[in-house]
């Protein structure tokens, strides 16, 4: 796998992760803030991923919900057709579909809070070949995808579960819909995440340290509405989101020694980004931005909670609940045997930033403008 193949698949202009040359004797630290983070999607070939195309969009799953409470297909289609839009059904009908979860004693309850009491709609899941990710050590070969960039065998059962759902047919920079909505509020209201990369000489291959923190300010936007580069942020002294990971830069790619990662989030985005056995690969873009992927195991229930807590927000949340639960592939509950975690990959971007402590000490310098010419690449 040569560096050039990575470039062609991802359309990245990945330059070696290098920075302005520093005195050889001084370690250097570059600062960033995470400017984009969402489930990594691979929607270049929907037909291959979802040959049945049975999940449909909002209209289709609304029809399925109506059929589930006793309407015929024709009746359901008529109801949806006559509604102002497919989501604004008459209140009495919505009440029926929203409470079609039935407990053992016959009581009807909310499908969003009792998804276990809803018959699994068996939504279509991804049967295609490709998904972004990492080899997390999953033992079932049949569950593995091939990463479109690295062509390695990878574990990403989360993508298998969600990839045939309409709101996940998002091509970056567009995020899956529920994440998009919540993230764009977070940008303006919630403390951002910082990343500092430290190494002896970041212009060369070598060992690096990655330090993640939460900062006290929300992300800043530039005049175009994008996350601004070269802004300054103060680290939140609370250690809750403080992570120190170890990695290396090799041939322009930064990877880490697998570790755990915890970053405080904010609902209705992720309650937290908690990745066990986290893997990363990150490259630098010409303008200094970082682009990459994080993968590992996340608690599946805390992921789907983001969706069931916002009914109708771009997904058949109950269908996803059952799909994700079935496809969870790690950390079985000792009592029930149900896997509690699912292999997942996130796509991330980060922009350069100055990262400082509360008493004004600058720890990480922004790197925009310091990009050097791409190094010679093997096979080029």
């Amino acid at each position: 796998m040569t560096f050039m193949k990575i470039l062609s698949r991802t359309a990245l202009v990945a330059v070696p992760l290098c920075f302005a040359a520093a005195p050889a004797s001084a370690a250097e630290t570059r600062g960033y803030v995470i400017s984009w983070l969402a489930t990594a999607t691979n929607v270049t070939d929907f037909k291959a991923n979802c040959p049945q195309n049975k999940n449909g969009g909002r209209t289709e799953w609304t029809i399925r919900d109506l059929v589930a409470v006793g309407y015929t297909r024709k009746e359901a289609e008529d109801i949806v057709t006559n509604a102002p839009n497919s989501t604004e059904l008459p209140a009495d009908i919505t009440r029926k579909t929203d409470t079609r979860a039935v407990l053992a004693n016959g009581q009807h309850v909310s499908i969003y809070n009792y998804p276990e009491a809803v018959t699994d709609p068996n939504i279509e899941t991804v049967s295609g070949k490709f998904a972004y990710g990492f080899d997390l050590g999953g033992k079932t070969e049949a569950n593995k995808f091939e990463d479109p960039d690295t062509h390695s065998k990878v574990d990403n059962q989360m993508w298998r579960a969600v990839g045939c759902t309409e709101s996940f047919r998002a091509v970056p920079p567009v995020m899956p819909f529920p994440e998009e909505v919540a993230w764009n509020v977070m940008v303006d209201t919630s403390p951002a995440w910082s990343l500092m990369i430290t190494g002896d000489d970041l212009s060369k291959d070598g060992k690096v340290t990655l330090t993640f923190d939460r900062v006290t300010q929300h992300l800043e936007r530039d005049s175009a509405g994008n996350v601004m580069s070269n802004a300054s942020y103060v680290i939140d002294g609370s250690p809750k989101s403080h992570n120190v990971l170890h990695g290396e830069i090799k041939d322009g790619m930064l990877t880490i020694t697998p570790s755990n990662l915890y970053l405080q989030g904010e609902m209705p985005y992720y309650a937290e980004i908690a990745i066990r056995n986290a893997h990363m690969r990150i490259t630098q873009q010409p303008e200094g931005k970082l682009l990459g992927y994080w993968g590992g195991y996340v608690n599946w229930m805390r992921f789907i909670y983001m969706y069931t807590a916002r009914p109708g927000n771009g997904s058949d949340s109950v269908g996803l609940y059952h799909a994700i639960k079935k496809l969870a592939d790690a950390n079985p509950d000792p009592k029930t045997g149900q896997n509690q975690e699912i292999s997942t990959t996130f796509r991330m971007e980060a922009v350069p930033a100055y990262i400082a402590t509360a008493d004004g000490k600058v720890l990480g310098m922004a790197s925009a403008g310091d990009v050097v010419a791409p190094a010679k690449v093997a096979g080029q």
Binding site: T94, R95, D98, T99, A101, L103, A104, N105, Q107, H108, V109, S110, I111, Y112, N113, Y114, P115, E116, A117, V181, A182, V185, M186, D188, T189, S190, P191, T216, V234, D236, G237, S238, P239, K240, Q264, E266, M267, P268, A271, E272, M301, R302, Y305, T308, A309, R310, P311, G312, A358
Partner: protein, 437 residues
């Protein structure tokens, strides 16, 4: 005890600790009186979106107190015999002392009854009417008009009665250009400048950094009013003084929820008309970049647990996330039981603890007593080891129901099938105690 400031150094932070009013008689003649006597609470009335509407009086457990319209003109109780069985008077102890807006009236049978602003106070013997608790996206409570009217049907069980509102601004004279306002971060009702809506401070001595402290000027024709007097400055201009101490605003405050002046000047205090009761075991630290954090006496952060609520953004703003009183009471001590108690530990109230202001004493299932602030039971977090730690903040507890129906979701509201869509997201949310007005 008056507020005092103490510099603490903990966890790399420079924290200012406020020791707050404990309800003891103030030795300082300039001390702000307590907002309520012992045994009388304050409850915020909010609308379905948790927006603050007005503040009412409550008994020791927060139940509404009422005024009787027929009492208004006499200032004495007109409710006796059968009336008093339906609306029992809020009795005062034999040692109760009148103060400010609080007076003690003698009833016909010789008993003593509390009165507020001259109006006797009563409970209701039946079930107090309540508006439906707000849902996660706004509930189906009575409209804003009904909630805002103490005499409406959602606020009173009977015509001729109204819920007793806490209205210190109606009896506290202020000069033009100065307003009385609830200041949560200052734990009381204080004065703000109408011009810039900044908190006013009193300083015993002139500030050292005059560039940052702006006098609250009085017009040349101003006259003293209430506790406000006039002081002539060296340059001949006139400055307002409150209880003999000159009033200033601080340029480092950016809103009326800032109290940065007390960090800048040693003897600066917010000009308070009333100070709310706070248990002796509670303090407030002001942490850089975070602002006021309520702590126990050892400086460990205090937390509340609320039902999950759909809110886009702002949870980490100073007053960005809070639950209504009604919802807080619904959660109560059920918000943390069994295994939860390994992580979150109740803020224990002593056996002789008395409720007052925003503070109630709630009983846990094991019989122990716990402090509750604005209806929410308070806890410390086992993972916090030193002052300034806030490891217990911003934590979500996901609680799906099971298909057997064995898991009780009433604490989260997730069992509300009638509002399935509104109450989606069954869970609890742990956060630092929020200071909100």
């Amino acid at each position: 005890m008056l507020m005092k400031t103490t510099l603490l150094h903990a966890a790399g932070f420079t924290a200012i600790s406020l020791a707050l009013a404990t309800g003891a008689a103030a030795a300082d003649k300039n001390a702000a009186p307590a907002s309520t006597p012992v045994g009388i609470t304050l409850v915020d009335v909010t609308n379905a979106g948790d927006k603050f509407l007005w503040r009412r009086l409550g008994d020791a457990t927060g139940n509404p107190l009422y005024f009787y319209d027929k009492d208004e003109t006499t200032g004495k109780s007109s409710c006796n015999d059968e009336c008093a069985k339906e609306f029992p008077p809020l009795l005062a102890s034999a040692t109760a002392v009148a103060s400010g807006d609080w007076s003690v009236v003698a009833r016909a049978d010789g008993a003593k009854q509390w009165a507020y602003q001259g109006r006797p106070l009563y409970r209701y013997s039946g079930k107090d009417p309540t508006a439906e608790p707000p849902g996660r996206r706004g509930g189906r409570a009575g409209g804003p008009e009904a909630l805002s009217d103490p005499a409406s049907s959602v606020n009173t069980p009977k015509q001729g009665w109204r819920r007793a509102a806490f209205t210190p601004e109606s009896t506290t004279p202020t000069p033009s250009g100065i307003e009385l306002q609830s200041l949560a971060v200052a734990n009381g009702y204080g004065f703000i400048s109408s011009t810039n809506h900044m908190v006013t401070y009193v300083l015993k001595t002139p500030p050292k950094d005059t560039a940052r402290w702006a006098p609250v000027y009085a017009p040349a024709v101003a006259r003293p009013i209430g506790d406000f007097t006039l002081a002539t400055r060296e340059d001949g201009t006139t400055q307002w003084a409150y209880k003999g101490q000159r009033l200033y605003t601080f340029s480092g405050d950016y809103s009326d929820t800032d109290l940065n002046g007390i960090l800048a000047e040693k003897d600066a205090k917010p000009a308070l008309a009333f100070e709310h009761y706070t248990p002796p075991s509670v303090a407030v630290d002001i942490l850089p970049y975070r602002g006021p954090v309520m702590t126990n006496a050892k400086g460990l952060s205090l937390y509340t647990v609320s039902r999950y609520k759909l809110q886009y953004g702002g949870r980490h703003a100073r007053d960005g996330y809070h639950a209504s009183y009604a919802v807080a009471k619904l959660v109560g001590t059920r918000g943390c039981t069994a295994d939860c108690l390994k992580d979150y530990r109740p803020l224990v109230a002593p056996a002789n603890a008395q409720p007052s202001g925003f503070w109630e004493v709630v009983a846990r299932a094991d019989g122990s007593k716990q402090w509750a602030y604005k209806g929410s039971a308070l806890y410390t977090f086992a993972g916090d080891k030193k002052p300034g730690d806030i490891q217990g903040n911003n934590r979500h507890e996901v609680m799906y129901g099971d298909k057997e129906g064995k898991r009780d979701l009433s604490v989260t509201g997730g069992d509300n099938a009638a509002a399935a869509r509104e109450m989606a997201g069954s869970g609890l949310y742990w956060h630092l105690v929020t200071f909100f007005n």
